[in-house]
Symmetry: C2
Subunit: 464 residues, 2 copies
């Protein structure tokens, strides 16, 4: 324990920043460590991932999404300064320039240790009409609030969602839940480009089955407005889609302007680069985590940008432990993600076919259909599992799942197997839980693994 009191400054008071603050506080008393956190917005520690469910009505209140309020943080001796934006990081001077947005006042404050948790900003293409009333992003609680207010004010019943990734499909569900006619305009060949197109096709079909109009291979060229300047349609090169409200779900980019200006190392995707302990590379006393960093992909051996609350929380936990004098690491990700559109569950982990090709791997891909429960058990429903394995070695490379209840979280078995470097042959012997309400006697993951083993063997018998 140091006898000199240290000062920890945190930029951004959401998942990563406040997890780091809380964990550091657990390890170090206010006498040992002063913690100052700056947040330019109105909220702390909220679940951005929950916004679609709030808009859709499954979650009642905005505050349900707030895990911990500013007051709760302050009770734990964290000097949290809301509506205060950090304008500059002076690395040599170990200080940051902050601006109190209410008072309009700027001031420098010093740090011994700095955590950058500035998150991500949504992609917002510079299209004609993009700023028209009725066009909404859904990145922040404020965005969600603005959208809900629009929906409550508007008579309209037609929504166009731009983008068919996680946010896009979740917002399509939300608008269906609100009784809207929904069109999803998607640049890709199929929705969910985090899946291979054959699996994305299943999502496409299910969404069409839910009454959602899916427009693939389409680039939005402009947002059309009415005489009042309000949105009335979304235009692509080939068509116009009438819209009372437009929701942008085009993904996000790391919010790293501050870091860039401070000369901190950024990766190819614009995210901060850190070491295993979430320390910014080359900097002893600066940590970063959450949506503003790139994460190491254990499968490809490369850095990626993945904005996901579960990573952000882990990063915060790791940073807080290290800042607090312990030692913790974040080894990387295998690329697991799960989502749903109404009762359709969508999950993936590891490499897609195009990732495997890009990595120069020779692989086999198999797809099987099975059910979530024993076929005779009530509620048994189809599930499609696609599995990739390396040729020769049989090493598991990736799994994609599309199905009904109980399908999505099955991807976790594959995520652990990937982390452990298992072969598909080893996977066929996995002792997974079986009872008729939970699984067929061969769990779908085992069925896929068996087929993958056969494919690996068959591929070995062919000339390479």
């Amino acid at each position: 324990m140091s006898s000199t009191k240290e000062r920890l400054v945190i930029i951004g008071a959401d998942a990563t920043g406040m997890s780091a603050a809380s964990q550091a506080r657990r390890l170090r008393s206010p006498e040992e460590l002063e913690i100052v956190a700056f947040e330019r917005g109105d909220f702390t520690s909220y679940s951005a991932c929950g916004i679609p469910y709030w808009v859709g009505g499954a979650v009642d209140e905005r505050d349900d999404l707030v895990a911990r309020t500013p007051e709760e943080h302050r009770e734990r001796a964290i000097d949290l300064r809301m509506r205060t934006e950090v304008l500059r990081i002076d690395v040599r001077g170990r200080r940051v320039l902050a601006r109190d947005l209410e008072a309009g006042k700027e001031y420098w404050t010093t740090y011994d240790k700095l955590v950058i948790a500035t998150g991500a900003r949504p992609l917002r293409p510079s299209l004609p009409g993009i700023d028209a009333p009725g066009v909404h992003g859904v990145q922040t609680l404020g965005d969600g609030q603005a959208l809900i207010e629009t929906l409550e004010r508007t008579e309209g019943r037609r929504a166009v969602v731009v983008g068919a990734g996680y946010i896009g499909v979740e917002m399509a569900e939300a608008m269906i839940q609100r009784g809207y006619d929904v069109t999803v305009v998607n640049r890709g060949k199929e929705p969910m480009s985090t899946l291979d197109a054959d699996m994305g096709r299943l999502v496409h079909e299910a969404m069409t089955g839910l009454g959602i109009e899916m427009v693939n291979d389409a680039e939005v060229t402009k947002i059309l407005t009415d005489d009042d300047g309000r949105v009335r349609a979304v235009a692509t090169e080939n068509a116009e889609y009438p819209a009372d409200v437009v929701i942008l779900g085009l993904g996000v980019r790391p919010e790293t302007e501050l870091a860039r200006e401070a000369g901190l190392p950024l990766g190819d995707h614009g995210g901060l680069l850190t070491d295993l302990a979430m320390r910014v590379r080359g900097y002893e006393d600066i940590w970063a985590g959450g949506d503003c960093v790139e994460v190491f992909d254990l499968m490809s051996g490369r850095e990626r940008h993945i904005a996901l609350g579960t990573h952000a929380n882990k990063h915060g936990q790791v940073i807080g432990s290290n800042v607090g004098g312990g030692y913790a690491t974040f080894p990387g990700v295998v690329g697991t993600a799960v989502s749903k559109v109404c009762d359709l569950e969508i999950a993936r982990t590891g490499l897609r076919e195009k990732d495997a090709r890009a990595a120069g791997l020779r692989y086999v891909a198999v797809t099987i259909e099975s059910t979530n429960r024993a076929g005779y058990y009530p509620g048994a429903a189809l599930m499609t599992v696609k599995m990739l394995a390396e040729r020769r070695t049989g090493k598991l490379l990736g799994v994609q799942i599309v199905g009904r209840e109980g399908a999505g979280k099955r991807v976790d078995v594959a995520a652990v197997a990937l982390t452990a470097g298992m072969t598909v042959e080893q996977m066929t012997a996995l002792d997974l839980g079986y009872a008729p309400p939970f699984s067929p006697v061969w769990d779908p993951i085992l069925v896929a693994a068996r087929k993958a083993v056969a494919a690996v063997r068959a591929a070995d018998e062919q000339p390479s």
Copy 2:
């Protein structure tokens, strides 16, 4: 490919036997391999695990539980002889003595390769009244049919289930579904002795909450009958429990009389001992699998008897591959099991505290409460996870879960981690699927792993 036609004889035409037959047939044509299967009962390839759901009414028809009928097997060139019991195995003569139960005719038939898949028989204590009308086991489809006929004939509304393991709790659910008042009489301190008692306690409380009367620490001394000789109550040393029907759920023992008489090697639990390829130890041409064998427990390094359909099917698959000229293995189990009582899900894998003690391991045990979904998401419900880790190494030893929807199959993550030999520290970094409808931002397994890490560290700081 051999030019001499071989003859495969299979004793027992259920999960293991017929999986072996089917897989062998896939690999070897009828010109290469003749397959003869003997079944003393009336059914093939059925899901015994489904019987409670058939009795409870979730599954409509007996035949829903039959995966493949005798006719379907015969269409695949399998010479299936129903209602034919094998009376003796002559290992030296490579032949078996069969008895056609209909014709009353006995005959010897030779084999080149033999598969023993004789299953298990239910424990049936020799108590006064145990054979009275109204006392039922639920091991076979015939048992299930007999019970359902009794229930349809009987006016009564009081059921006593003897035993509180998987079958016991599932049958308690089934009888609740049928509108009965249910009492479970259990020898153990808490139900589900495959869990530690603290977790069993949660099952106890939930079952009580469902209106099931739980009687623990109680040994049945006799079955009391009325003047007609029909069951009227179950007696323990201390009390009598009125019963219109009694269901025995006391577990099973390997059915290995034939094997024992033939001099084949049996283990401490009475099951056949096999090698990794499911070959009976020391015998070149005899395989065995399913409920009549002991399986290798990867956690304890010892043989156990676990009657479970998923193992039986894997064994059959492995045997069929090996008999058919390929090579496959069954490395062992980590002891995963999952079950439910109404909406309470119960799961376990690996070692309990008493197993860890018996193995001479020094361990820490932690228990956490979390939810199946994000706390704010509709349907979020409590889940309790208990995790054991080895002191010093931090190696995961076991996980037990009791909770609502989505709790049970989470045990699979731990099953894979056990198989891979992961530490709880490694588990904290697992990239598990997260979205609010599927998990809190920290999956309950991760929360448990974090607490286990802290416990391992704290234990290290204490004198050992």
